[in-house]
């Protein structure tokens, strides 16, 4: 025990004093803020101003569509109506598309005999611009509905009233901002945990490899057991991670106290969210850093280690690929399945808890599942570690590693 404490303390002090710690402590919040504000900014303003043309034989339809599209406050679309088309219209428009003066044009043809609706042809500058396409399709549908309603004798004001956008008011539930806040905390917590787990589990790996290549292990192993070294290292580096997160929490609290954060932005982190963050960070960190340590013990250069770490990153990347689904549907099948895959449990389960507390049995089961996996991983990792840290040169192949497991 004493040795574990000494090793963890050494590891902790060396890291806390390093300049990299200070830099990362400042950089990561900036990065997360950038990510979140960036995605809000991008999602909030779908595309910037665009310019399209509508070619239609029906001039009334053209102007209706124009006013419909230009009424959208979230984006600026300038619409040019060409009615009717002349022989050179299409070539001119195509040239404009190439010259990037135009983002796309809608070509409307009168209904074929026996059909009620005209046909619509959308020619975009870039096929990838699916938001503009969606906006136009919606606008066209609204215009057609309006026309149909007017046609069947409804007054213009009635039509407007019928088609007015609906404002869904969720403030009646008595927790006005909590949904938005929960999303914010879920996202922030997810990215925070993501970055901290990745960073610190790589740190453990790198530090083990450093000690292996500097042959310090040979000296230490006279007085310390490999398992003590292993545990001490993981604990030392993990505490640095917790310290860092603690600094962020305190800094955020102080900032709010002095109203440095923009007015109205409160971070109503509940105690249970904070506790679960720490629990899942620690479990996730132990899981990933155990594997990282075994990888580090197997390799003998940073490049090799980096290649191995790619495997380690895969489940984490998978988590970030589905995080949007988890936040929007925190009890849905995807969220449910992924929160029980041990490698995804820390990130996904925490996010679910932050959005909306899942049933207690699910949390308990996920944690139990995770702990069992950690024990299994530790069993294998410590065996690889014990042998690996004294092996230099060629990277071992799988049969060799399997033999290591049997060494006493």
């Amino acid at each position: 025990m004493h040795n574990i404490w000494l090793i963890a303390k050494r590891e902790y002090l060396e890291r806390i004093r390093a300049r990299a710690f200070m830099i990362m402590t400042i950089l990561i919040p900036v990065l997360i803020a950038g990510l979140i504000f960036g995605s809000v900014l991008i999602n909030g303003k779908r595309g910037n101003s665009s310019r399209i043309a509508v070619v239609t034989p029906d001039a009334q339809f053209g102007t209706d569509l124009q006013s419909e599209l230009q009424s959208d406050k979230d984006r600026k679309i300038s619409v040019e109506v060409i009615s009717p088309a002349v022989a050179t219209t299409r070539t001119t428009l195509n040239e404009q598309l190439k010259g990037k003066d135009l983002d796309g044009y809608l070509w409307v043809t009168d209904p074929a005999p026996g059909q009620k609706r005209p046909t619509f042809e959308w020619v975009p500058k870039s096929q990838a611009d699916i938001t503009t396409k969606g906006d136009i399709a919606q606008a066209v549908r609204r215009v057609l509905t309006r026309e149909g309603l007017t046609h069947s004798g409804m007054g213009a004001s009635d039509v407007d009233a019928l088609l007015a956008p609906i404002d869904l008011d969720s403030s009646q539930a008595g927790k006005s901002d909590s949904a938005v806040a929960a999303f914010g905390i879920a996202y922030t917590g997810f990215f925070l945990m993501y970055l901290v787990i990745v960073q610190y589990c790589m740190n453990v790996g790198r530090s083990i490899l450093e000690d292996k290549t500097s042959r310090i292990f040979e000296v230490l192993l006279v007085s310390v057991r490999p398992s003590e070294l292993f545990v001490g290292k993981v604990l030392g580096v993990g505490s640095v991670g917790l310290t860092q997160v603690g600094i962020w929490f305190i800094a955020a609290a102080v900032a709010m106290q002095f109203g440095l954060l923009s007015s109205g932005t409160k971070l109503p982190v509940t105690a249970s969210q904070a506790i679960f963050f720490v629990i899942f960070f620690l479990l996730g960190f132990i899981l990933y850093s155990s594997i990282g340590s075994a990888f580090a013990a197997m390799t003998s250069s940073q490049q090799e280690l980096q290649q191995m770490n790619t495997f380690l990153m895969m489940p984490i990347i998978a988590c970030s690929a589905i995080i949007f689904r988890v936040v929007t549907d925190s009890d849905g099948p995807i969220a449910l399945v992924f929160s029980f895959i041990p490698f995804c449990t820390p990130l996904i389960m925490f996010t679910r808890i932050a959005v909306h507390q899942p049933p207690a049995w699910q949390i308990a089961l996920a944690i139990a599942d995770l702990i069992l996996t950690i024990l299994a991983v530790l069993w294998v990792a410590t065996r690889i570690y014990r042998v690996g840290i004294l092996m230099y040169g060629k990277r071992p192949n799988l049969p060799e590693i399997l033999r290591w497991l049997k060494y006493s």
Binding site: L6, R10, D211, S214, R215, F217, E218, V219, V222, S223
Partner: protein, 304 residues
């Protein structure tokens, strides 16, 4: 009471047998030389003495007791490949390693300072390890192995990379420690140092013990059939029929005599002839050097 005793120890890694039924014994107050070409099993044997690996069969005893980890607090180890935390300050490093060996921080600090003075590196104390020269780092490592006043000191190539002044300093320190009754095991390729320092030697090759015993006793097993002559003048006497092999290093002749009933007489005959053609400033009849014994014992086959 032997400090270390290996009895019929065997260790295999996968298909390769690193150590084959090795038995050695080291007594307190002696210096023991563990010799052998690269890859002969020296490091594997040492690793079993300090519990980094466990023998497949045979027994390891420390201080007359079966091996136990807590006995390692009485062992100091200097590995062949030096390892120190590069970013750590020297003094913190020494205290840390001392604490791992069971010292409290205050004692470790006090002894570190005393040892740094003894090793003449007080100016290195406040520096980071990576700022030091290789020789200085070596001395730090040396101190780290001795800080807890071990009764058994194991050193793998302790003098490599040191200049003659520092090598002598370390040598003298080891001799002092032997006087205090410590047992010292060192493994090296530098046969001249072994010859000068060690009381007992064991030579292993291919994981097996080839030769062992007291230094004098081992050497006396070999005939005194080496002659060294320092001369000035003609070297024609090197054609003498009693000479099996002769090397002339510009006035320093190293002669190996043919096997005969009386090597001493052959040597005198060569001297008598040499005097007629050259001025002799030194003439010595001796056993083969340890280096020659080494090369002969391992059959000249030294891989890498």
């Amino acid at each position: 009471m032997p400090i270390v005793e290996l009895e019929n120890v065997r260790k295999a890694y996968d298909s390769k047998v690193a150590v084959h039924g090795l038995s050695i014994k080291i007594e307190p107050g002696t210096m023991f030389g563990l010799l052998g070409p690269n890859g002969s099993g020296k490091t594997s044997s040492i690793r079993m003495m300090i519990g980094i690996t466990v023998p497949d069969s045979g027994t390891v005893s420390l201080f007359n007791q079966p091996f136990e980890r807590k006995l390692l607090n009485r062992v100091g180890y200097l590995p062949e490949e030096r390892g120190l935390y590069k970013k750590m300050k020297v003094i913190e490093q020494l205290v840390f390693l001392g604490q791992l060996h069971g010292l409290d921080a205050a004692t470790a600090l006090k002894r570190s300072h005393a040892w740094c003075e003894r090793m003449e590196i007080t100016e290195a104390i406040p520096k980071k390890t990576e700022e030091l020269s290789k020789g200085m780092q070596q001395k730090i490592q040396f101190i780290a192995a001795l800080l807890h006043e071990p009764d058994l000191i194991i050193m793998d190539e302790p003098f490599s990379g040191l200049d003659p002044v520092n090598a002598t300093l370390l040598q003298d320190t080891l001799v002092d420690l032997r006087k205090e009754g410590k047992a010292i095991l060192f493994s090296t390729h530098r046969m001249d140092q072994v010859e000068k320092l060690c009381d007992n030697i064991a030579l292993i090759s291919g994981g097996k013990l080839v030769l062992s015993g007291g230094m004098r006793e081992v050497k006396s097993r070999y005939p005194r059939n080496r002659v060294q002559i320092t001369f000035e003048g003609s070297d024609a006497f090197l054609q003498h029929p009693a000479i099996a092999e002769a090397k002339n290093y510009s006035g320093q002749a190293e002669i190996k005599l043919r096997p005969s009933a009386d090597n001493e007489a052959d040597a005198q005959a060569i001297l008598a002839q040499a005097i007629t053609m050259a001025r002799i400033s030194r003439f010595e009849v001796m056993e083969p050097t340890l280096e020659e014994i080494f090369i002969e014992a391992v059959g000249g086959k030294v891989d890498a």
